[in-house]
Symmetry: C2
Subunit: 137 residues, 2 copies
DNA sequence: CTCCGTGCAAATACTTTGCAAAGCG
DNA sequence: CGCTTTGCAAAGTATTTGCACGGAG
């Protein structure tokens, strides 16, 4: 039933790349990052492996930002912030919804809830300070 | 500065279509729904108007589900649930994050937060009961 | 030797865009 | 009339997939 999984150096590298950053990378970012060390790496492989990791729960998907899916190697519950100005994705360490409330919602609405994603949208600190500067001019 | 906005029967129809349902439609759904009454409607127009409504805050985007952006005519704060089995999007009336907590996060992390989206992932009631049935067989 | 993993390129799928024509004010 | 909106079709972009070959067990 379970599919056998062979070792692959590239797969390891892809996972390591996602885990190496808090930038919530795209498939293409991972590809570009690994390309120098793995010149024959192909984008399809990156996509295939990311999809597999995501399905396994080894990584999570933050969602699609500006048309590109963003991944996160940090699978502990936390919150994400997306800057509508520069498109960056930031981690917010706080967890705003307790597992009790999730369990409550499951009962109340007859759902099975597997994950809880919170996405805040707005302007990041960096973009905020740039805006302030320019408004002084 | 503000761009002038002309009346358009099709634009009205597009907004009405999104508001007419709680299915959190895609651009294509809106297009197909209006096509019979507006045979010369084009998909590009639907995309253009949805983008505009979203920017105006007249509608909101639930996010991208299975590669397609889902919209919602209900702009009051609420929560969304996405079924990983059938892809449906359900409204959860509850609001899990108070505006006080949002304001707190803004101060704590030096952000400007414009919207708070909560996306629960799991299995919807309908798919749950189907699974139960089939496990009896 | 037998499957799994991959490169490559083609195919998909959704969304965006340029342009000329039609519509609103 | 001037600016907005649209249809149409082409282009753009991210992602997926088929297939033959190289690699792990």
């Amino acid at each position: 039933m379970e599919k056998r999984r062979n070792y692959s150096r590239k797969r390891e590298a892809i996972l390591a790349a996602v885990r190496s950053t808090t930038s919530h990378p795209t498939a293409d970012w991972v590809y570009e990052k690994l390309k120098p060390e793995y010149p024959d790496l192909s984008l399809g492989t990156v996509y295939r492996n990311l999809a597999q990791f995501k399905q396994d729960g080894t990584i999570i998907s933050v969602g699609v930002v500006n048309g590109q899916e963003r991944f996160d190697g940090n699978v502990r519950p936390h919150t994400h912030f997306v800057c509508s100005n520069c498109g960056c994705v930031l981690d917010i360490p706080d967890e705003y919804i307790s597992s009790e409330r999730v369990a409550q919602a499951e009962r109340k609405y007859h759902l099975q809830i597997d994950s809880t994603d919170i996405l805040l949208h707005g302007v990041c600190p960096e973009c905020l300070s740039k805006k302030q500067e320019s408004s002084h001019g």
